[in-house]
């Protein structure tokens, strides 16, 4: 194993202090401007744009800004989670991209562990349940059982347009979310930014 250790050291530090701005995606990001396009998910209504409904398809005249702050924090994080925040992701009915983007926050470039954000292998040890994908009948009880198994206090994070509003695919998972992270799928920039904001680590 020491050989691997040396090989790892040789490559140097890959974690980015401030994730490189130049790699922020156009979609999803905050959209700006005006559009009367007939949005396929009704994300534009009376001139107002709804970031949770938007699937960031790029078909309308709204302009992507690369600003990753497309999330809503609906209450304060329980104080005890600020030292370590364990998240259990649960796939209700995703296309797979939400799963992949959530996992990417633990990749070396982002290394979410350094922000005291961790992945939990079981809901029993989780502080937050992160729900992604559309509502599916067969996952209904699985989600309920996972929620019941979590210790108090419990946080629920709605992740991606499918979970928040049903997106283009189906119906939303009907939960009251403490944190809403928009995107189809949310980018790692948005995910980390949302959790840091919830933790109170950024303004």
């Amino acid at each position: 194993m020491s050989q691997w250790f040396l090989r790892g050291i040789k490559k140097g530090i890959k974690t980015e202090k401030n994730f490189k701005d130049k790699y922020k995606p156009y979609y999803p990001s905050k959209l700006e401007g005006k559009s009367d396009y007939n949005c396929p998910v009704n994300a534009i209504k009376n001139g107002e744009w709804d970031e949770n409904k938007c699937i960031y398809c790029g078909k309308c005249d709204l302009n992507p800004t690369k600003d990753e702050k497309i999330y809503k924090i609906n209450d304060a994080m329980p104080e005890m989670f600020k030292k370590s925040f364990y998240i259990y992701p649960l796939d209700s009915g995703t296309c797979g991209a939400c799963n992949a983007e959530f996992n990417s926050i633990f990749y070396p470039q982002y290394d979410a562990n350094r922000f005291k954000i961790f992945l939990s292998n079981t809901p029993r040890h989780a502080d937050a349940l992160l729900l992604m994908g559309v509502y599916t009948e067969n996952m209904h009880d699985v989600i309920k059982n996972a929620y019941d198994a979590m210790p108090d206090p419990k946080v629920i994070i709605g992740f991606g347009s499918c979970a928040l509003t049903g997106g283009i695919i189906g119906s939303s998972i009907n939960e009251k979310f403490n944190v809403e992270i928009a995107g189809c799928p949310p980018s790692p920039y948005t995910i980390i930014s949302a959790i840091l904001k919830y933790k109170g680590d950024i303004k």
Partner: protein, 383 residues
């Protein structure tokens, strides 16, 4: 809907009650998948999933075991089945949903769907096909890196696992720079691709160099090789994609699909059909995909409006990262009247079930990861 009752060509998979062969779609008469084998005295059924640490998607495994050995396993993928309203949608509304059948293989699905539309409505697609090849090969690189990473994770090799994670993210960034979205959403149109390949070759060569050094280190690791060799062996004529090529079958839609033809592509096969062979085929394909991207010439985009308010039937088959992906469409006055989609995960799940028989629990994740199965594409019900 087109349906025939005679098989023709090799088997490429199932959607609902249709079996697809290279040249035919056959309607099934009441076959079902069967239930898990009866357990024998001394055996127990061990349930794993649908939601558990270590599983990327929701899926359940019913494992019959007397203890350490696995006598049989049945994959229940139905938990996250999505009903997707697509019938009567126009082409571009339907495309938004097709992009999200399997987000990790979104380029493959969107392109295969559009090729089927172009086939149905007799639309020439010369200008965009090479750009589409670049998309699919970038997607293949990321998908194969993801699987090799999964194998190192199963072995508890966290250094190469992190190195491969790093490369996956770098490929996502390359895709994002070229297509404005990390999963190609919104990039594909009828005979058109939203793309910018300015830094593509330079960036992709960095991936090649980095992967080569990880690959050589993995090959030099006797412990890693021991975990892969003679593990999860399966040889089945009804195979697809890298799993087929790892057991000696030279199946690859890049050689024989009518829509996207790769002239210079040379197929790489192995013979033993174990996790090691699948690792070798996938690693080789990372290099060959990079080579294809390096050498491909793209044509200028033409911005043309196409009349899509027409009717017709068409199909397309391409080599998605994990095997044959097939779309058959019936379009009426510009709307989807009927659709059949066959993804490689149907066959790969069957292969996984066969490969696990007689193996032990510690091999489970190696074998699962080695097939690159996506439940999202398997459990789609178009309505």
């Amino acid at each position: 809907m087109q349906s025939f009752n005679k098989k023709n060509g090799r088997y490429i998979g199932r959607y609902k009650n249709y079996d697809a062969y290279l040249n035919k779609i056959v309607k099934l008469s009441g076959e079902n998948e069967g239930d898990i084998n009866e357990k024998l005295p001394g055996e127990m059924v061990f349930n794993y999933g649908p939601s558990a640490g270590g599983l990327e998607e929701s899926v359940n495994f019913k494992i019959i075991t007397p203890g350490e050995k696995i006598n049989s396993v049945r994959v229940d993928s139905s938990f996250k089945r999505r009903n997707i309203k697509i019938l009567n949608n126009n082409i571009y509304d339907a495309l938004l949903k097709i992009e999200r059948i399997n987000g990790y293989h979104s380029a493959s699905n969107s392109i295969c769907f559009l090729l089927a539309v172009e086939n149905a409505l007799n639309i020439e697609n010369n200008e965009s096909n090479n750009k589409r090849v670049i998309e699919i090969e970038l997607e293949r690189i990321r998908s194969n890196l993801h699987i090799v990473k999964g194998l190192t994770e199963s072995a508890g090799f966290s250094v190469p696992e992190k190195q491969l994670s790093y490369l996956i993210e770098e490929v996502s960034r390359i895709i994002s720079e070229a297509f404005k979205h990390r999963y190609f959403f919104g990039a594909n149109y009828i005979n058109n691709v939203r793309c910018n390949f300015n830094n593509l070759n330079e960036n992709i060569l960095k991936i090649k160099k980095e992967f080569l050094s990880i690959y050589e280190d993995l090959l030099a690791s006797k412990i890693f090789m021991d975990r892969l060799q003679e593990n999860g062996t399966v040889k089945d004529i009804n195979s697809t994609g890298p799993a087929a090529r790892a057991s000696g079958y030279n199946y690859d839609a890049r050689l024989d699909s009518r829509s996207l033809f790769y002239e210079s592509y040379k197929i790489f096969t192995m013979n033993s059909g174990d996790v090691f062979s699948r690792f070798m085929v996938r690693s080789d394909e990372i290099f060959s995909s990079i080579e294809l991207i390096e050498n491909i010439k793209v044509k200028e985009n033409i911005n043309k409006d196409y009349d899509l308010n027409k009717s017709g039937s068409g199909n397309a088959r391409i080599e998605s990262p994990q095997g044959d992906l097939f779309y058959h469409l019936d379009i009426k006055d510009g709307k989807i009247n009927d659709i059949i989609m066959v993804s490689p995960s149907y066959i790969n799940i069957k292969l996984f079930e066969k490969a696990m028989r007689g193996n032990i629990f510690t091999d489970f994740f190696f074998v699962w990861e080695s097939f690159g199965i996506w439940i999202s594409e398997k459990e789609v019900n178009f309505i």
